[in-house]
């Protein structure tokens, strides 16, 4: 049932229209490189008071790369309009993915990105892994035990065998200090 749906939608439009990924990507990069060339470079790359040669300027390489991106993005955008790419099967796999699954992934990422110091290496490892296991809808208990065992074993390995310190978690420190 599902497969035939996929096939029929594929048959309906083998190619994208004007709003195809290449044109959109080219357009986005075009705008971004304009911003980069005309706003970011002059404002965020400081020039020294004296330079021996214009090619020695700190702005030279960023400008070169910026113009490269600008021109190629334009080419990509235009060629996308005239010659839209074909749809790929992989895109179809992304239709109808449960929202919860994606939200849980984002939450796991957020824990690592924002609370690594607070929860500590072990704490955030456990939280994030549990969330990701939940996202896949895993049911068996021993798998969730893994989510505890792995962060503990791996951080101890990092700290004691490899001599690489990881944070304990300021949150726990504050709690146990009370």
């Amino acid at each position: 049932m599902e497969i035939s749906e996929v096939q029929s939608s594929k048959a309906a439009s083998d190619h994208y229209g004007l709003l195809n990924p290449n044109s959109v990507l080219g357009g986005v990069f075009f705008v971004l490189s304009m911003v980069f060339l005309f706003f970011i470079i002059p404002n965020y790359i400081n020039l020294p008071p004296y330079m021996q040669h214009p090619l020695l300027s700190p702005q030279f390489l960023p400008q070169l790369a910026g113009w490269l991106v600008l021109i190629l993005a334009f080419v990509l955008m235009v060629s996308g309009l005239f010659n839209p790419p074909k749809r790929e099967e992989a895109d179809e796999l992304r239709r109808g993915v449960p929202v919860l699954r994606q939200v849980l992934m984002l939450a796991a990422g957020a824990i690592y990105a924002m609370f690594f110091e607070q929860f500590g290496a072990i704490g955030s490892g456990i939280f994030a892994s549990v969330l990701l296991f939940l996202a896949s809808g895993l049911r068996s208990v021993w798998i969730y035990a893994l989510a505890v065992v792995f962060p503990v074993v791996v951080s101890l390995l990092f700290i004691h065998v490899l001599n690489v310190p990881l944070p304990t978690g300021t949150l726990w420190e504050a709690l146990f200090q009370l």
């Binding site: 008071p49 021996q52 500590g120 004691h160 001599n163 310190p165 990881l166 944070p167 304990t168």
Partner: protein, 331 residues
């Protein structure tokens, strides 16, 4: 916020269990009990560099005298990330040391808006190792003395290499440039490994490199040493004059630079700790192991202890600040 580390916590809590019967856990340990925990020696550069190598040797010797010393690498923005973290103090800073080097004083000029004072925010324990820099020219260079070189550099533009902007090698060159009123061009590389071939091949005219980097090439004749940058000649290059002698009459009478490596700590470091460290360092530095170690790096033992060390750093900060300003590097 200084994050404290699991390894440290575990040790600490084990200790707490033992002493909890009579004492409140987490309370301040008795001053005379220092060290009551592992000592952490922070290296503000990546593993594998000279600072790292020297720190690991010092840590190795230090832990025979005191307690376990754990070396931690915390590179970033010269050495200023690790130094800034130390300056903020917090938990565990009573057992934390940092191996400071010229980056500590040069970084204060080079990096914008540092949130610490390189002198006032720290306790200064001891300068441990000094490595002189050597003014070297390629073996086939027409210049055989500092005087000849300065004369030539005043007549035309010459260039000097360094392993990177803000390194002691670079700043030694900038200082030379200022004092001799010459217009040397700085050619930065990334690391001595890249800088050395350009010097050997004569692509650059001079360098003020660290002794251990260039010593074998001086021995083999591929490089000529014109002067050492310390006030005294080095025992490793007995025929080479000091810059102050060789450059007399060219503005170099007070020229002095060297790569120094010394231990500093947070300003609230316990008094007992300072004393214990000073005596432990004095002991290991007079020991055979340390004395045998020094020549491998063309190094000499650092002499400045405590306040003398602080004064030395203070002077360095002032000196480099002026040089950085002249070289348009000051932020």
């Amino acid at each position: 916020m200084m994050s404290s580390k699991i390894g440290f916590r575990l040790k600490r809590s084990a200790l707490c269990v033992v002493t909890a019967v009579s004492m409140a856990c987490g309370g301040v340990a008795q001053a005379d009990e220092w060290p009551d925990d592992n000592i952490r020696l922070v290296v503000p550069y990546s593993a594998g560099g000279t600072t790292d190598l020297l720190s690991r040797k010092v840590a190795d010797l230090l832990q025979r005298e005191l307690t376990t010393v754990v070396v931690e690498n915390r590179p970033g923005a010269g050495s200023t990330v690790a130094t800034g973290q130390l300056a903020r103090g917090g938990r565990g800073s009573d057992h934390m040391l940092l191996m400071a080097s010229p980056g500590h004083t040069i970084g204060a000029s080079l990096y914008p808006n540092l949130r610490y004072d390189p002198v006032a925010d720290f306790a200064f324990i001891r300068n441990v190792i000094n490595i002189p820099n050597v003014m070297v020219v390629p073996g086939n260079s027409p210049y055989n003395t500092v005087a000849e070189f300065v004369e030539a550099a005043r007549a035309k533009q010459l260039s000097f290499s360094s392993p990177g902007i803000g390194s002691s090698v670079h700043m030694s060159g900038e200082l030379f440039k200022n004092l001799t009123q010459t217009q040397l061009i700085h050619v930065p590389f990334r690391g001595s490994g890249e800088a050395l071939p350009a010097l050997l091949a004569g692509d650059v005219d001079v360098a003020f490199e660290n002794m251990p980097t260039v010593y074998p090439h001086i021995q083999s004749g591929k490089l000529k040493a014109l002067a050492v940058t310390t006030p005294q000649e080095s025992e490793f290059l007995p025929d080479v004059p000091s810059m102050q002698q060789a450059g007399a009459g060219y503005g170099l009478e007070n020229y002095e630079t060297s790569a120094w490596f010394g231990l500093i700590a947070h300003k609230s470091f316990p008094e007992a700790g300072l004393e214990k460290l000073e005596s432990a360092l004095a002991k290991i530095m007079s020991g055979e192991d340390f004395q045998n170690f020094l020549p491998q790096f063309g190094a000499v033992a650092g002499e400045e202890v405590g306040d003398d060390f602080r004064t030395m750093v203070d002077n360095e900060v002032a000196k480099w600040s002026e040089v950085a300003e002249q070289a348009n590097l000051k932020r």
